[in-house]
Point group: C2
Chain length 411, copies 2
């Protein structure tokens, strides 16, 4: 009898399926209105523009665009990204940029580069599930730092760092999504960003700044990335084309110091040799034509009313007592329901009513946020959002009633 499981590494034995990926499978049922995935709206894809772009790429660069590329990534693309980063206040050149196969690969690289089994890293409570999964796949211990309406609580962060250092535990990095945080939607103000850099400098620690959403901004002034205040090279910044062009292209990038960039490049060599050359050329040509900024404007114009519909439909259909701060950008609303509700168990009722979300616990390394859920507003049509909130309102109402009746029984 074959027993290949005895061959698995310790990390493989511990790997669990991603909750979101599994949910996405359930929600492939076309009758379900899904607010679970972090998917851009398919209508936003610039298909017509891309047809011309790709024709040019094939005719002018076909022989290089279909060939292997360097591990660091296409020079023209890195140059264009560096110029945009400079406009955001990040002082960098193409040499400090690596093109990754999506931010998830950059997160995996961070995990591989820094985490020994048993090592500690700090993440938000709540935080992006893909980051948690990548870091856990290297058998690390993740400690959660609570957020408030201005993002990660730095008083608790510093306290936690001090406590760890006192016990001779070195936190390997602080993983943070400062702008339109996934899932909580909050934005860390500039002052707190500077304070965070002070902490990183003081304790000589690494910050991993994940910034997929800052360009999808509705009614809030621009805030500079944390990396813009990083004079000592303590920040690995990452962003992606997934939300502003196409997730199917699997293109993201990092900005980091010379030494960290060199080391990440070596790590990526063993991961996949190089990122997709063809889609790198496409993104590069799309930017060269000046189409990216126009396209981002179009996306913002498309998503802002969807956000508004979701907020007003919740108001219309949800029973009172829920809390949802209007997200000022990004793709998600974070809803916290009255006490007694468990969004994980409620999910089964929601599926029965053909509506889906991601439950809060999935984002919390300590299993908190059990009353919360993340709702995506970018993917669905306006009508689907209204109908979805109606269905969800019904599910919540029923759960609240069950809660009271079970309460009466208990009393």
């Amino acid at each position: 009898m074959s027993n290949l499981e005895r061959l698995y590494s310790n990390r493989a034995s511990k790997m669990r399926k991603s909750v979101i990926r599994e949910l996405l499978k359930i929600t492939q049922d076309p009758e379900i209105l899904s607010f679970a995935g972090g998917l851009p709206n398919p209508k936003s894809f610039p298909i017509d523009d891309l047809e011309g772009v790709i024709q040019d790429v094939l005719r002018q660069h076909g022989k290089t665009a279909l060939q292997y590329g360097t591990t660091q990534g296409l020079f023209e693309l890195r140059k264009a990204i560096a110029e945009r980063a400079c406009k955001d206040g990040i002082k960098t050149t193409d040499e400090n940029i690596i093109i990754f196969s999506g931010s998830q690969q950059a997160l995996d690289t961070v995990g591989k580069m820094f985490l020994n089994p048993g090592d500690t890293a700090l993440v938000g409570l709540p935080s992006y599930l893909g980051g948690i999964n990548a870091f856990r796949s290297y058998e690390s211990n993740l400690t959660g730092i609570p957020l408030d309406q201005d993002g990660m609580r730095l008083d608790i962060l510093e306290e936690t760092i001090k406590k760890f250092l006192k016990n001779e535990i070195l936190p390997k990095f602080i993983y943070i999504i400062p702008t339109f945080q996934n899932p909580a939607g909050v934005v860390m103000p500039e002052l707190r960003r500077k304070k965070l850099i002070d902490i990183a400098n003081e304790y000589d620690l690494l910050i991993v700044e994940d910034d997929p959403y800052s360009k999808i901004r509705f009614d809030v002034p621009r805030v500079k990335p944390i990396k813009a205040f990083d004079d000592e090279g303590h920040v690995i910044y990452m962003s992606t084309f997934s939300k502003i062009l196409s997730p199917g292209f699997r293109l993201a990038w990092t900005v980091a110091s010379d030494e960290l960039t060199r080391r990440m490049e070596i790590c990526k060599q063993a991961l996949d040799l190089c990122t997709n050359t063809f889609t790198q050329f496409i993104a590069s040509e799309f930017m060269r034509r000046g189409s990216l900024d126009l396209h981002i404007m179009k996306i913002c114009e498309m998503y802002e009313p969807k956000r508004d519909i979701m907020m007003s439909s919740m108001k219309k259909y949800f029973p009172k007592g829920y809390v949802c701060h209007k997200p000022k950008g990004g793709m998600f609303a974070w809803v916290t329901l009255p006490k007694g509700i468990d969004t994980e168990t409620m999910f089964l009722d929601a599926i029965k009513e053909k509506v889906a979300y991601v439950h809060g616990k999935a984002f919390c390394v300590d299993g908190s946020c059990g009353r919360s859920m993340r709702l995506n507003f970018s993917y669905s049509t306006d009508e689907q959002i209204d109908e979805g909130m109606k269905r969800l309102g019904g599910v919540i109402e029923k759960n609240l009633k069950n809660r009271s009746s079970s309460h009466s029984v208990n009393i």
Copy 2:
């Protein structure tokens, strides 16, 4: 003073740059005739066909082709691959196939899934450098098994396995490139493949079969993949579109048992969520049109005369005493030079003469093959191959003379 190096994981501290990647950088000097990389010929890329294919993909599937896909990969592509695998004698369906971002990612996944620090895996002497790099990045110990003209020596393999098991060391897998081996070019005959499966079954071990080249076949009958004889699920088979369509698309696949496929899928979720959806759709449509087999024929017709030119130019220009068995397929010639030559030190002379190769030691986990080198014949033009062999012949001649003169000094 910042010292982020103290944050690195043990595996990151040990990571070294890939020799081949670094060589490729040197050889970007356009004056150097490089036979170093494993690059397809850019003239082989079906640019005109792809223009039509991509137009159809965008117009008919734009909204899904630019969106996130499932981790396992595009159903239509997996189905087409499964059908082709069946023709090669591998009994499989789409469910046992995963689409990876190049074979390198599949190799990294194998490393992540099976290798704890200090674990042992068995590889050919010589073996593919990218595999060695991926496995070493998980701090494993690689033991080399010598090859003969029929591939890996199974008597030594079995002896080695027995020795390890006696010492309570469990070899995690046997990594093997059975057809047009990289770099040695040899083909393992069917009888030896069956014997290898017998060994895997007897000791309940895993075989990782890497098969990028079997379709690039000139004058030798087809041999079934090892996977075709694998009735008990001991083989993870992998192949790629890099050599038969475009390496820039970063598309490869694995065929494995239900359990191994499920586990590799979980592992890949944390690596990059999903493989490039857009190029998956392109490859799928290219195959649907029946273009792939025609294209492979074209590649074989293009590479066979290049192989012949390389063989005859070596004969013309190389000093006597070298050994190179004519490769019957694939993309590489493996040359062993007379005693006293070190191809690693000779490389600097070669670069001075504007010609490049990969030295043999790079492929050997025990540092052997110091007199050998790998020459790629697919990338260069016919004229470049002839001129390159001429330059290389001169370099070898000079080195042989130096050797004799240094010998005389020593005597």
